[in-house]
Amino acid sequence: MPGLENFLVLGFNEAIQVVLLGFIGGVLSGFIGSGGAFFMTPGMMNLGVPGVIAVGSNITHKFGKALMGSRRHGELGHVDKKLGLFMLITALIGIRVAVWLNATLFHMKGDGHGAESGSAAGDLYISAIFVFVLSIVSISILGDAIRTREKGEGPSTKLAEFFSRIKIPPMILFKTADVKLSFWIIAVVGLFTGYLAGTIGVGGFIGVPAMIYIFGIPTAVAAGTELYLAMFMGAWGAINYAWGGFVDIRLVFLLYCGSLTGIYIGAYGTKVVKERIIRLVTGIIILLCVISRGVNIPVYLNQLGFIDMTGNTDIALNTISKAILFASGISGVIVILYSVFRAYSKRRKVQEVLRSIGA
């Protein structure tokens, strides 16, 4: 059971940094349409928050936002509630497994340097999963952005066609998504989505593409269903992490202070920036987040005694990691804000022209 020593000592500087993390994560989240955990979780870890508390606080933060977003999709009819509920059955198991693993590793003591906090094993595990999953995600996004597709050409249906041939009973018809799927395929996808949401807080990066490419359902329905699912997964994740005492409510509030401002600015950005640029910016930022987390892995290996680092190498690596993370986030946000304010000032100029000619 973690004591108060596991919670970050929050001075003004730390609080501002968490708000900044939330703001950058929020702008990116509004711009990309994901939860922003890929930036906020490693950012908090770089500030010294143990991985399990960073994930627990982030998943709680995500739960509140998902609660607000899913209503809108529900109104638009983009949610296949039946599919969401079927995926939820195994997603909840996935989350429980993830929380159990994170909590168990958190309590494992390393033998190396600086392992007194006891979070090195958990941090290493979270970082490794983060690097593995988000490397694939960022490369796919970048590949997609670079490949020029014909307008109107939808996502590839090859995988969906393959999986639709797997007819292991029971087969279930989902009317909103207009697909008939084997329960077992849904169960496996749900399990992985839940596991990743519980481990690193980025279930949507896996859930949405899986629904599009494996289930073959329309993109809008996939995004809406994922948001619906995220509400329950977030709640379940929050319950599990809160039960273990791994939610720092102060971090959640500070993240909201930044993210709920940033998310609207990011969402405005999607109206004024070309989709290809959005994908490129997203891909590059996620890749830089992956590199930043990767740089920190030797620090955790050192703490666990797997490698031996001399001098202040671990401090230097942590600083480099932090610098890459903030540089990627800040430069991404600058690109987005620049586009937003350019569009905003252009609109003001047009209004002035209209006024000047008395229209």
């Binding site: 973690p2 739960f63 936002k65 609660l67 039960w243 102060r250 709920l260």
Partner: protein, 506 residues
């Protein structure tokens, strides 16, 4: 008055059916080739457009202006022909040239591939492989052409009232069946439809005039016409076109008034009727001003949309609509405007005057039909930044009206990539008034209270949440997190949204 449009693949026998049907019914016959020929005479580069179809999409997508010119021209010619009398038109989804006009009989002709191949072999003297290749290429070109012009899939049977396979039916039988169908009241143009065709004719004619005059052809103009009043909207960066618009249009016959507006896009406001002093119009104008858009008023004839009984078919529904629209058609289909119609037009004109005074008139249009017709109409038009659904289906009970409005909103939201809002939501979503200031203050105060409480008692809260001392109260700790988090998120998020709205960053 009747309009029958026939679409067909190459060598399906559609051409023979169309000409035979026109003869049997005593209607005029017109084909797409006739339209193109007349368009060429008027200077439209039809050949350039058609040959671009065989090139990669990036080549023909550049020909947007030529496409607009072609569409304006053939709309004008077709409407002119329709206004002369009953017609059978043979072309690729010709009914798409008459968006939002109901009671057109839309036919698609099919034939078995063997029938088509044999026809090509006999008539073009090609071998079997070449004939197959010919049919495939011509169909693919037509498919691309229809997508380029109207953005629809011409193979989709939902675009037609009837799909006929001539392979077994034969031309004579099909023509006989279609003659009977054409006599149904559902497929006779109502006076309201004729009025809409007149408006479409004038907007096509004026748009074509602007697109062919060298002084105005470069501008991205949007033209609407209603009872001789023409509204032209153009972009602020093309302001130099302004003096020439009136000069060019003053020479076009049928134009009574010309109005121009500068705008980046249009906000479409749909209501059954518009009356001067309409309070919600002010909110729509404010939103439009904020977005540098013009406001287009669309009058929806809700009297033409009676409730469909639960056990009725869509056909019954259309018939019921038609009966209302065509009531009093004993005068030969020509109906004088009633006193009520004149009053509605006057009130609409006053609303348009108000828009003009405020510098954001996007013109007016009439719409007759259901939500699906509206969608196909809007899909053909471009440059809308928002659709505002006002008081429509006013002749319905509250429950039916709410359901029909929600259905229309969902249909448009699912298919158009722009905000679709009801007037009740407009103030909530886009306006910043006293109500919003009050909401901002309340939500911000609540968020601040939560924030201060958590940070003032952070040590105690963390001890409670960590479960170290209060192990037995863990369930309360979980409930605390689950309740306090969304409450703070909602209040803080709402206040931030209001603040950004204040700075017009929503």
């Amino acid at each position: 008055m009747s309009v029958i449009t026939i679409s067909r693949g190459t060598f399906t026998g559609g051409q023979e059916l169309a000409s035979h049907l026109a003869k049997k019914l005593g209607y005029q016959y017109m084909s797409r080739e006739d339209l193109s020929e007349q368009a060429i005479k008027l200077g439209v580069p039809v050949g350039k457009l058609q040959t671009s179809m065989v090139k990669p999409p990036r080549v023909y997508r550049r020909l947007g202006r030529e496409r607009d010119q072609y569409l304006a021209c053939i709309t004008m010619i077709l409407c002119e022909k329709i206004l002369e009398g009953d017609i059978v038109y043979l072309g690729h989804t010709g009914h798409m040239l008459l968006p939002g006009i109901p009671n057109i009989l839309r036919i698609r002709v099919l034939a078995d591939s063997e029938f088509r191949i044999n026809s090509v072999i006999q008539r073009l003297n090609l071998n079997r492989e070449k004939a197959k290749e010919y049919i495939r290429d011509v169909d693919a070109d037509r498919d691309k052409w229809v997508k380029f012009l109207y953005g629809i899939d011409w193979y989709d049977p939902f675009n037609y009232d009837l799909v006929i396979n001539l392979d077994q039916t034969g031309t004579e039988n099909a023509a006989t069946a279609l003659c009977a169908m054409a006599e149904l009241p559902d497929f006779k143009l109502s006076p309201a439809s004729v009025k809409a065709i007149n408006n479409l004719y004038l907007s096509g004619k004026t748009h074509f005039a602007l697109l062919t005059d060298p002084r105005t052809s470069f501008a991205d103009v949007k033209v609407t016409a209603n009872n001789g009043v023409v509204q032209v909207t153009y972009l602020p960066q093309q302001a130099e076109v302004a003096p020439y618009v009136k000069e060019v249009l003053s020479k076009v016959s049928g134009v009574k008034e010309i109005h121009t507006t500068i705008a980046q896009s249009n906000v479409l406001f749909i209501q059954d009727k518009f009356s001067p002093g309409l309070e919600i119009l002010n909110s729509v104008i404010k939103v439009a001003k904020k977005w540098d858009a013009a406001v287009e008023l669309m009058s929806m004839t809700s009297s033409a949309a009676p409730s469909a009984p639960e056990d009725s078919s869509p056909g019954d529904y259309r018939r019921a609509q038609h009966e209302i629209v065509t009531s009093g058609e004993e005068n030969g289909g020509i109906e004088d405007d009633t006193a009520a119609d004149v009053k509605i037009d006057e009130e609409l004109s006053k609303c348009l005057d108000e828009l003009r005074k405020r510098g954001c008139s996007g013109g007016s249009s009439n719409f007759y039909g259901d939500a699906e017709n509206l969608l196909s109409t809007l899909q053909r038009r471009t440059n809308y930044s928002m659709v505002v659904i006002g008081d429509i289906y006013t002749n319905k009970g509250t429950a039916t009206k709410t359901r029909l409005k929600a259905e229309m909103k969902n249909l448009l939201s699912d298919n158009l990539n722009i905000p679709i809002v009801e007037t009740s939501e407009l103030e909530e979503q886009f306006k910043f008034g006293y109500k919003q200031v009050f909401k901002l203050l309340i939500t911000f105060a609540l968020a601040l209270a939560f924030f201060l409480a958590v940070f003032t008692y952070q040590r105690e809260i963390l001890i409670f949440l960590s479960g170290e001392k209060f192990h037995h109260l863990r369930i309360l700790a979980v409930l605390f997190v689950l309740i306090i988090t969304p409450l703070f998120a909602y209040n803080y998020g709402s206040s931030m949204r209001q603040i950004l709205r204040l700075f017009r960053l929503d």
